[in-house]
């Protein structure tokens, strides 16, 4: 069945789609927002580590489910395996209203000015698709600020000399350091570094009608029981719905962007919560489904002018899949540094994001979120027994005695790391699934070695008695920080959208999510995804004329 036409249909109610829905609905456009998941409720999974989005041993609490979804993973040796959403190789983000912003750790980093022009800062890297963004930090600055104020960020950059210029301070004061954080701050300061409180999309004081954080140890990977953690589900989406201009349809799985023979997007074909095929016609189509699912949807949308998928005539859709390789160092320490105050990550160090001699890029370091007991089983120095009495002894002796510094390495884009569509395997609705293949760029090993050694040097200075590093690997990137598969650019031959997220050659088809990222920074990417969603929305609102775009 087909619904009446609306101005805009948006696929995905996560970090990007939630913001676009609010911006367009407030501007007076009629909006239908399609989301495959539903509202996430704290009560259903509470503080259960086995149903945390971080360790989903018994399935993803915030979706998608293992029953109806699957992907194909291609190993470096060419063998393939069908993987389920709760398995690591699936590269899941989340599938619920708010997307990853319901259960994330909520670090609110702006990328640095250099992150938008890596190629011109550092030059070419062999066998990579390293490129500058078509927009600058200055272009995005007002939209970073909007995200910080509308979603809500607590922070203080007094001691961070490396961040880009900002016009306004953070809307909320920073969170205090925890015990582990204080130890790292003392040490790093002594070493001439510049530690500062991690900016967080989490209320340090009551803000926007929601209360302050109550510091659950189960925070990252979980929903917040008091809504102190800010996502699109508890900030912009309620505003969008209150306008009366935005209809949210849950349990809806997009199958195809309808593109007519003249190359215009006409709407979206999807399956509703009763698995019935539906069509939603619209003046413009916005895809905000995450770097993996957005690419899949475009590739599954074949039409006369785009026989290889929407916007894919130059074969760039799905390539350059990035995420973050996390590296760092751990140390065992005499002092009990564990504090029953979640989420645990409190201190950031940005000294190593850029300006590292002989290295392209770098990365941020932060102390780690609280590891719950099951996850802690893998926090071990090399060679430590995995089981038996030695395992128990380690758990008992060190659970509250670990100092950790880890961080995301800025990845070098690799054309062969990609999302394609599997020729044979389909999901429960008969839609061809994502096929993930390739590896990280070999250069990332250099970045990872560098950053983990910097972390190791700091941890050694904290007084830890036994210190070990977690180094990099070439394993295909993606996961929660997935990005890069529909990069923006000025040259249609080497990008998928223009600088406003508008797909080349299909002027009423837009993208607003991590897919647009040309490079993915040495930081958690969510605030950049949010800022881009405001940036793309602003462009649409400015050019909107009645029922047509431009």
């Amino acid at each position: 069945m087909s619904f009446p036409k609306v101005n805009a249909v948006i696929v995905g109610a996560g970090a990007g789609g939630g913001i676009v829905a609010k911006e367009l609905a407030l501007a007076g456009l009629s909006v239908v927002l399609l989301e495959r998941g539903d509202w996430a409720r704290y009560d259903e999974h509470n503080d259960d580590e086995l149903q945390s989005q971080r360790t989903p041993a018994l399935g993803n609490p915030f979706g998608p489910d293992d029953r109806r979804h699957r992907r194909v993973f291609v190993y470096p040796n060419g063998s393939t395996r069908i993987v389920l959403p709760s398995e690591g190789a699936y590269s899941n983000n989340a599938g619920c209203i708010g997307g990853g912003t319901v259960s994330y750790g909520a670090m609110a980093w702006r990328f640095m000015p250099q992150d938008f022009r890596l190629r011109s800062t550092y030059g070419e890297v062999k066998d990579s698709t390293l490129e500058d963004w078509p927009i600058s930090y200055d272009d995005l600055e007002p939209f970073y600020e909007k995200a910080e104020y509308e979603i809500g960020v607590a922070g203080d950059y007094t001691n961070n000399p490396f961040c880009g210029p900002r016009k306004k301070p953070f809307p909320m004061p920073a969170f205090p350091y925890n015990k582990e954080g204080r130890r790292i701050v003392e040490t790093a300061t002594r070493m001439g570094l510049h530690p500062f409180p991690i900016p967080m999309l989490r209320n340090s004081v009551p803000y926007n009608g929601r209360p302050a954080c109550i510091h659950m140890r189960s925070c990252v990977g979980f929903a917040c029981p008091v809504n102190a953690k800010a996502g699109t589900h508890n900030t912009v989406l309620p505003i969008a719905l209150a306008t009366g201009n935005c209809q949210l349809r849950t349990g809806c799985v997009a199958a195809e962007i309808i593109v007519d023979d003249r190359g215009h997007a006409r709407g979206v074909r999807y399956f509703d919560s009763d698995n019935r095929a539906q069509e939603q016609p619209a003046d413009l189509v916005m895809i905000s489904a995450s770097a993996t699912e957005t690419a899949r949807l475009l590739l599954n949308s074949k039409s006369k002018l785009f026989p290889n998928g929407a916007g894919n005539n130059n074969d760039w859709v799905g390539h350059n899949l990035q995420g973050h390789c996390y590296v760092g160092a751990f140390g065992l320490i005499e002092e009990e540094v564990y504090e029953e105050a979640g989420p645990g990550a409190t201190v950031g160090i940005s000294d190593f994001n850029h300006g590292n001699p002989g290295l392209v890029g770098g990365g941020m370091l932060a102390n780690e979120f609280i590891d719950l007991p099951y996850r802690f089983c893998d926090v071990r120095p090399p060679g430590e027994p995995r089981w038996g009495k030695a395992h128990k002894d380690f758990q008992r002796r060190y659970y509250k005695h670990v100092v950790r510094l880890i961080g995301p390495v800025q990845e070098i884009p690799n054309f062969s790391a990609r999302v394609s569509v599997d020729p044979a395997v389909k999901d429960a609705w008969g839609i061809p699934v994502c096929r993930l293949s390739g590896t990280r760029h070999p250069y990332d090993l250099q970045g990872g070695e560098f950053l983990s050694k910097k972390a190791e040097a700091i941890i050694k200075e904290t007084g830890a008695t036994r210190v070990w590093r977690n180094g990099p690997s070439l394993w295909l990137s993606g996961g929660q920080h997935q990005a890069g598969t529909c990069r923006m650019g000025n040259d249609p031959k080497t990008s998928v959208t223009n600088r406003f997220g508008q797909v080349h050659q299909i002027d009423n088809l837009f993208i607003a999510d991590g897919s647009l990222h040309v490079t993915n920074g040495g930081f958690n990417p969510v605030l950049t995804i949010m800022a881009l969603a405001y940036w793309v929305s602003d462009y649409i609102k400015t050019g909107w004329k009645g029922s047509k775009f431009r």
């Binding site: 509470n46 340090s204 954080c213 659950m216 140890r217 029953e340 802690f376 038996g388």
Partner: protein, 206 residues
């Protein structure tokens, strides 16, 4: 009869019925006790009564798996895998969300049994604790006779049991393991993790 009802509750919880539903059922049981229907057993664990039957494992498979899990997390001055009910966690989950591993358990346990009979001429459960440790290490490292193993391989089977034992020991008690919060007590973690139970007030440590 009341015991059946209690077993039913635990099962429903593990199958994904919400905690609220379970609390309602518990309330019904409590009411039953109050009006003298005869519900006298504790409702937080199996108490003194016989443990429930297994959903997937045969008695012989369960006996072997219990011994393997106890090697992975042995009892010393604190509880081990057997005390914590890890076998019930695994049995329940591979009858539910982890059903994809059923075949691995069935075939893997059979290969494991054959391995011990061939190498030690004795069933694993009857070996001395130190010999069990050696046998398990042999399999962990892939050094047992390979002709006794197919899919899963010996290493893959060990890794599977290792992971599920950890889950059962350290996960939420609502899935059948971590009985009496054994692992949380061992680590000195407060439980239940009450909302608002923390050392902060107004954003400052107190």
């Amino acid at each position: 009869m009341s015991q059946d009802l209690i077993v039913g509750i635990a099962g429903a919880n593990g199958d994904g019925v919400s905690r609220r539903t379970v609390l309602k059922l518990v309330a019904v049981v409590a009411l039953g006790a109050a009006v003298g229907v005869g519900a006298s057993a504790g409702i937080t664990h199996w108490g003194r009564t016989a443990p429930p039957p297994y959903r997937f494992f045969s008695e012989a498979e369960a006996k072997l798996l219990i011994a393997i899990c106890e090697q992975i997390i042995p009892r010393d001055d604190t509880s081990g895998a057997t005390d914590a009910g890890v076998i019930y966690y695994i049995d329940r989950q591979i009858s539910g969300p982890l059903a994809r591993h059923q075949q691995s358990y069935r075939l893997g346990l059979a290969s494991f049994r054959k391995t011990c009979l061939q190498v030690y001429k004795t069933p694993f459960e009857e070996l001395a604790f130190e010999q069990q440790t050696d046998a398990l290490r042999l399999i962990e490292e892939g050094n047992a006779p390979n002709d006794l193993w197919g899919d899963p391989s010996q290493k893959a089977f060990f890794d599977l049991v290792l992971d599920h034992t950890r889950q059962g020991f350290y996960g939420s008690p609502r899935h059948g393991g971590n009985r009496d919060y054994a692992s949380y007590r061992m680590l000195g973690l407060a439980y239940p993790n009450l909302i608002g139970q923390n050392r902060y007030a107004n954003g400052r440590p107190i």
